[in-house]
């Protein structure tokens, strides 16, 4: 079977009012299998959001091709099918919620797709159950915390029954409790519902929880490896303006002091275990 997402030689150019052009993506080649959990990191302006918007046909390539589940996004007939397959969640929870209650908000997507009322109710129930917000169905979204609002946005995306969720910095405006809620939910969607995940983040600790980490720089993908291997390239990451997760940073420093630690140390538990067996 073909990979879920295939991108070949993708280029995207934004036209500016001034007649100038901004080449936001160039030579992007990428494939993502069904059920993968992929993190996308990179400096501001490197093209992460532009790439994300290609995955549900919000943007159409100015060069190259994007296939989603075998559908070419540049074919106008495919746009709605692609949007059903790939749900998007954005950074600012306040800009995404449109309705006056949580359940209406979650119902918005399937309503737009013309899903029958009975089925909408069922999908809303299911989506709210998955994110753990059943108790809040009648609440106005403004009464929820930032983390809860993001969970509503995720439920809204789930109600269209996508095979893939693209989340563009979904935790960057949240407090630590909200971040944990959202990240745990994303992990569960991937592990239990088999949903393919592309998570854009500036948090190296969040990236470390993915199976695969992509690094973008200046419009193209410059690294594509499992997290342990990505974070082994400490100097290269720093040159790209990225940082190491604190635990990995500490492990690097201890190795530099001559402490033999396995290269696979990623989490606090890994490091405690390695340290307690080394002395």
């Amino acid at each position: 079977m073909h990979p879920f997402i295939v991108i070949e030689n993708l280029q995207y150019v934004y036209p500016l009012e001034s007649g100038e052009q901004i080449v936001a993506l160039r030579d992007v080649n990428l494939s993502i299998e069904r059920g993968e959990f992929v993190a996308l990191i990179g400096p501001n302006g490197s093209g992460k959001s532009t790439l994300a918007r290609h995955l549900n046909a919000l943007l159409i390539p100015t060069g190259g091709t994007v296939w989603v589940d075998g559908l070419r996004t540049s074919d106008p007939h495919n746009v709605w099918a692609v949007r059903r397959k790939v749900g998007m969640v954005f950074q600012n929870p306040d800009n995404q919620l449109v309705a006056t209650t949580v359940e209406e908000d979650v119902a918005f997507g399937p309503e737009n797709m013309g899903v029958p009322a009975e089925e909408i109710r069922q999908r809303v129930d299911e989506a709210l159950a998955i994110v753990g917000l059943e108790a809040y169905r009648q609440y106005p979204p403004q009464m929820l915390s930032g983390g809860q609002k993001q969970l509503v946005a995720i439920a809204g995306a789930l109600a269209t029954r996508p095979s893939c969720l693209v989340l563009d910095e979904p935790t960057s405006m949240l407090d630590p409790v909200g971040r944990r809620q959202v990240l745990n939910t994303i992990q569960r969607l991937n592990a239990e519902e088999g949903i393919t995940i592309l998570l854009i983040t500036h948090s190296m600790s969040e990236a470390a929880s993915a199976q695969r980490v992509l690094i973008m720089n200046a419009g193209t993908i410059v690294m594509d490896k499992p997290p342990a291997e990505v974070f082994a390239h400490g100097a290269k990451l720093q040159a790209l303006g990225l940082s190491l997760p604190p635990i990995v940073d500490i492990a690097h420093r201890l190795r530099a002091e001559g402490l033999p630690l396995p290269p696979t140390v990623l989490t606090l538990q890994d490091l405690v275990k390695a340290l307690c067996t080394s002395a």
């Binding site: 400096p43 604190p246 201890l254 405690v272």
Partner: protein, 288 residues
């Protein structure tokens, strides 16, 4: 500029079903030139408090004094004191109005009545402070910028006012690590040169650990901790209690302590934690 907060209570939508007490009898003294971090979970009142420090809200009860003058007094003194407090909002959308980045950042300095040469110099300086290229980004329409860029424009427009008290409400949310580092380096350096007061609302405890000397923690509208950065940010029980993450270096050291290792746990930064572990593991002389 000395700031005093006296019994400040703020109730939103008082007398309606949506009534919310955002601040409850808050008392604070902030000396000129202090560098302060303000932490607490969403909804704890941080943004409400800093808007009071900038004189943008009317207290339900209590008051705020700038250099001994009540912030809402009528007259030129209070007005000029208020103008010396610059607050960069949590949501830059609340703050950006103009048609180009240049005009947006120039708005405040023009309002101060500065001449155009000075206005231009300030706009360039402020955009460079936040890591934006004035020539490239100055003419852009703010709404075509990325969220991270818009946030920095909002910050530049506050910096361009050269405030004596600079308040940043979650300034680095959505910024990449290098952008954050560069921003803190420049703001930190400018703070040292000018001796301005710096108040930063943030969940990024590691950044606060590098930058501020005092941390104030809010929970449900009350001050629940106020002390030296190292003390407050290594107090794992307090942090968990108010729903904040313990900095990872502290969490690591605590896990090691629990495993019977003799390490100090008040090491907030990766380098400090690594040095602590190295010395406990006999890799270096203690304190080296």
């Amino acid at each position: 500029m000395h700031i005093r907060v006296e019994n400040l209570t703020h109730i939103y939508n008082q007398g309606t079903p949506l009534e919310r007490t955002a601040l409850h009898e808050v008392n604070l003294e902030i000396e000129a030139g202090e560098r302060i971090g303000l932490v607490g979970p969403t909804g704890s009142g941080k943004s409400t408090l800093v808007q009071h420090l900038a004189g943008l809200l009317q207290p339900t009860t209590g008051r705020v004094l700038l250099a001994g003058t009540p912030i809402h007094s009528k007259g030129a003194t209070a007005r000029s004191l208020r103008l010396q407090v610059g607050l960069a909002f949590q949501y830059p959308e609340d703050q950006i109005f103009e048609q180009s980045v240049f005009r947006e950042v120039a708005f405040g300095p023009r309002n101060l009545g500065l001449d155009e040469t000075e206005v231009k110099a300030r706009v360039h300086w402020a955009l460079e402070m936040v890591g934006l290229d004035p020539a490239r980004i100055g003419p852009r329409m703010p709404f075509t910028l990325s969220g991270g860029e818009r946030r920095r424009v909002a910050l530049a427009s506050i910096l361009a006012m050269r405030p004596r008290v600079l308040i940043l409400d979650e300034p680095t949310a959505g910024q990449d690590p290098q952008g954050r580092r560069a921003l803190w380096e420049k703001v930190g350096q400018w703070q040292q040169e000018t001796g301005m007061t710096l108040i930063i609302v943030s969940h990024a405890l590691e950044e606060l650990a590098r930058l501020v000397e005092r941390v104030i923690a809010l929970r449900a509208g009350r001050v629940v901790a106020d002390g030296p950065t190292r003390e407050v940010l290594s107090d794992a029980r307090l942090l968990r209690d108010i729903g904040l993450d313990v900095p990872e270096p502290v969490a690591l050291l605590q896990a090691l302590r629990q495993a019977g290792k003799d390490v100090r746990t008040d090491r907030l930064l990766p380098a400090e934690a690594a040095a602590e572990i190295a010395s406990a593991w006999g890799l270096r002389r203690a304190g080296a």
